[in-house]
Amino acid sequence: MKNKIVLEAKSINKSFYNPVKVDVLKDINFNLTRGEYASIIGRSGSGKSTLLYILSTMDTDFTGELIIDGISIRGKTEKQLAAVRNEKIGFVFQFHYLLNEFTALKNVMLPGFKLDKLSEEELEHNAYEFLKDLGIEKLAHKMAYQLSGGEKQRVAIARALINDPLVIMCDEPTGNLDTKNADIVFNIFKELTEAYNKTLLVVTHDLNFAKKTGRIIELDDGKII
C-alpha cells in the first residue's frame, strides 16, 4: 500500500515557441509513491511552476508521458481531465486564488459541488473542519476578498483538501506566511502524509521547509539534478 506509485513522469519535455524555441523542461523522469512528502526547489525561472501545471493535467502541451493513479492522461478529453483534477489532485497556487464572490467556506466547498459525492451538509461540515485545522474557522463566513494574504493561502489549502485527493500539489504555499503559520502548514502537510497517506508535492524557495520534507527534487534549467 505504502509504496504504490501514484504519479509517474516519463521523459517529459516542454518548450515554448515565442518566437524562438526555448526548452523549459528537459527529460523529466520521476515517480511519487503513496504517502510521500516531496519538495521541488530550484532557481527562479528553472521551470518549477511549469512542471506543476503539467503534472496537474492543466497543461497538456508537452511530450513524454504522465501517469496518474495508474492511468495515462494521454488522449483524455478536456472533460475527463477536469474530472481527474477534481477527484485526484488538490492544487494550491503560487498566488492565492479565491473566488471573491463567495465566502471562505463556499470557496472550500466548490470543488466538492463538482465532485457531487457528499451532501451539502457533509461537505459544509468537512470544509469547516479543514478551516479549523488551519486555524481560520472564525473566518468561514467572511467574503474571500476580506481576508489577508496569509488567510487566503490557508483557505486555498483547505480547498485543495476538500475532495480527499491522492496528490496535493502546492506552488509556494508558504510564500505569504510568517514562520509560525508556515510551520502550521508544514505540520498539516506532514500529518496528511502520515495519518492519511496522502502524497504531497510542494514547490518552495524555503530551504528549511524543503529540508524537513522527505525528499527534495532540485530543478536546474529545466533538468532534475
Binding site: 472533460k79 489532485i89 492544487f91 503560487q94 498566488f95 486564488y97 464572490e101 463567495f102 463538482k114 457531487d116
Partner: protein
C-alpha cells in the same frame, strides 16, 4: 454537478455585477413590453378598421344576379352550331331577384357544420319624401335577431331601440345621414315612396350609423315583412341570403360549393373586400418587424454584458477549471446567467406589456364615425405574449451561447501564469 450549484455560482457572479445585470434585464423587459403593446395596439386598430366593413359583411352572399341567359336561343339552333354569333346588346328578360326555395336553402345551411349562422335579407329601392324633395334611399329588410347576432347590428344603432323594429308595425331605423337631412327624431312618422309609386308611412324607432357617411345617407333598416310590403311582394320573397362562417378563410371554397349545389350566385367576402386583407397584413408585418427588432437589440445587450462579465471574471473561470470544473460546466454557468436575465426580463416584460396595453386602452379616442369606440383599441391576444416570451428566450439563449462558449475555452494556465 447539480443544477442548484451551477445556479449558485451564476447567481453569485450576477450579484457581483448586479448593475449590468439589471440593465440587461431592463432591456429585455422594455423590448417585450413594447413588443406586446405595439402588436396589441396595431392588431386592435386593424380589427377596428376591418370591423367597420367586415363585421357588416356576410362571409358569403347568395343571390340571383341579373344577367342575360348564358344560353341564348341561337346557341340551341343546330344549324349554327359551329358558327360564332355577333348578336350584341343582349338584354336579360323575366329576371327574378327572388331566390327560389329560400326557406329550404336556409334550413339546409343551418344544418351545415361550417356555418355559424344564416340571415335572410331583402332590399327595397325607395324615395324618402321630404316635402317636395325626394331623397334616394334603400331599405334593408332584415331579421332583427339574426342581424344583431351575426353582424353586430346593435353596435351600429344609435338612439332608439333596435327591438322596436320587431315589435312596432311599419317601423324603420333611419340612416343617420338621411335622418339629419330629414330632421327626423325617434317617434316621428316619415313617408317613403316605393319604385312602384306607392306611399308608405313608417315610424322612426332608431338611427343607424355605420362609420361610413355615404352609406348612412342612403341605407335604412326595416324588418323583413315591412320591406316585403313596400315591395309589394308576398311573405316568401327573399332576395339575399347572408351567411356567416365559423372560419372566414373557407368562404371562397364554400361559395363555389353553394353556387353549384343551390344553382344560385354566391359571392365570398375575400372577393368582395380584397383590399382590407392586404392592408391588415401589411400593417401586421411592419409591427412584427419592429417588435422582433426590439427583441434582437435586447439580445445584443445581453451579449455585450456577458462578454464583459467573462472578461472581468477570467480569474474566476480559471480557478474553477483548475479545481476540476470542465468547459461544459463553465458554459452552463454562463448560459444560466443569460437565461436568468432572459426569463426575469420576460416575466416582468409580459407584465409591463399588459399594463402598457391597459393604459393605451384607457386613452380616450372618439371618432364620429365609430360610435362604439371610446378609447384606443387593443387586442389582448395571448399570441403576442407567447411569441414575445419564446422569442426573448431564444435570443437570450443565443446571446449567452457565444460568450459562454468563449468562456469554456479559457486556458487556466495562461490566466494563472499571467498573475
Amino acid at each position: 454537478m447539480k443544477i442548484k450549484h451551477i445556479t449558485e455560482i451564476s447567481g453569485a457572479l450576477m450579484r457581483a455585477r448586479w448593475k449590468q445585470t439589471l440593465v440587461a434585464i431592463v432591456g429585455v423587459t422594455f423590448s417585450i413590453a413594447f413588443f406586446i403593446s405595439l402588436l396589441g395596439f396595431m392588431e386592435g386598430l386593424n380589427q377596428l378598421l376591418d370591423g367597420i366593413v367586415l363585421n357588416r359583411t356576410p362571409h358569403i352572399r347568395l343571390y340571383n344576379d341579373i344577367l342575360p341567359s348564358k344560353k341564348q336561343p341561337i346557341d340551341l339552333n343546330a344549324t349554327y352550331k359551329n358558327h360564332h354569333n355577333f348578336i350584341s346588346s343582349v338584354k336579360p328578360t323575366n329576371t327574378r331577384k327572388e331566390i327560389y326555395n329560400a326557406t329550404q336553402i336556409i334550413n339546409k345551411l343551418n344544418k351545415d357544420q361550417r356555418v355559424l349562422g344564416v340571415s335572410p335579407k331583402i332590399t327595397a329601392q325607395v324615395f324618402y319624401n321630404l316635402g317636395n324633395i325626394d331623397l334616394n334611399g334603400i331599405i334593408n329588410g332584415v331579421d332583427v335577431d339574426k342581424e344583431a347576432e351575426l353582424f353586430s347590428f346593435n353596435d351600429y344603432v344609435v338612439g332608439g331601440n333596435l327591438q322596436k323594429l320587431k315589435t312596432t308595425l311599419n317601423s324603420i331605423i333611419l340612416g343617420q345621414g338621411a335622418a339629419n337631412t330629414m330632421r327626423a327624431k325617434v317617434g316621428d312618422i316619415i313617408t317613403v315612396t316605393s319604385t312602384e309609386g306607392e306611399q308608405f308611412s313608417l315610424k322612426v324607432v332608431g338611427f343607424f350609423k355605420s362609420g361610413i357617411a355615404e352609406i348612412d345617407k342612403v341605407q335604412s333598416y326595416a324588418n323583413i315583412s315591412t320591406t316585403q310590403k313596400i315591395l309589394g311582394k308576398n311573405s316568401n320573397y327573399i332576395s339575399d341570403i347572408q351567411i356567416k362562417l365559423k372560419e372566414m378563410s373557407l368562404a371562397p371554397t364554400l361559395a363555389h360549393e353553394y353556387e353549384s349545389f343551390f344553382k344560385i350566385d354566391a359571392e365570398d367576402i375575400q372577393t368582395a373586400n380584397a383590399q382590407f386583407e392586404t392592408g391588415s397584413s401589411v400593417r401586421s408585418i411592419i409591427s412584427y418587424a419592429v417588435g422582433v427588432t426590439l427583441l434582437i437589440v435586447s439580445g445584443f445587450g445581453i451579449y455585450n454584458i456577458l462578454n464583459m462579465l467573462i472578461y472581468e471574471k477570467m480569474d474566476t473561470i480559471a480557478i474553477l477549471k483548475a479545481t476540476g470544473f470542465a468547459g461544459t460546466d463553465v458554459k452552463k454557468i454562463f448560459i444560466s446567467i443569460s437565461l436568468s436575465i432572459g426569463i426575469t426580463g420576460a416575466i416582468t416584460g409580459l407584465l409591463f406589456g399588459f399594463l402598457l396595453s391597459l393604459s393605451i386602452d384607457a386613452i380616450p379616442f372618439n371618432s364620429p364615425s365609430l360610435p362604439t369606440v371610446t378609447t384606443y383599441p387593443i387586442d389582448y391576444g395571448i399570441q403576442y405574449y407567447s411569441i414575445a416570451a419564446i422569442f426573448a428566450l431564444i435570443t437570450t439563449f443565443l446571446a449567452g451561447w457565444f460568450p459562454a462558449k468563449k468562456a469554456s475555452k479559457i486556458d487556466p494556465v495562461i490566466i494563472i501564469r499571467g498573475k
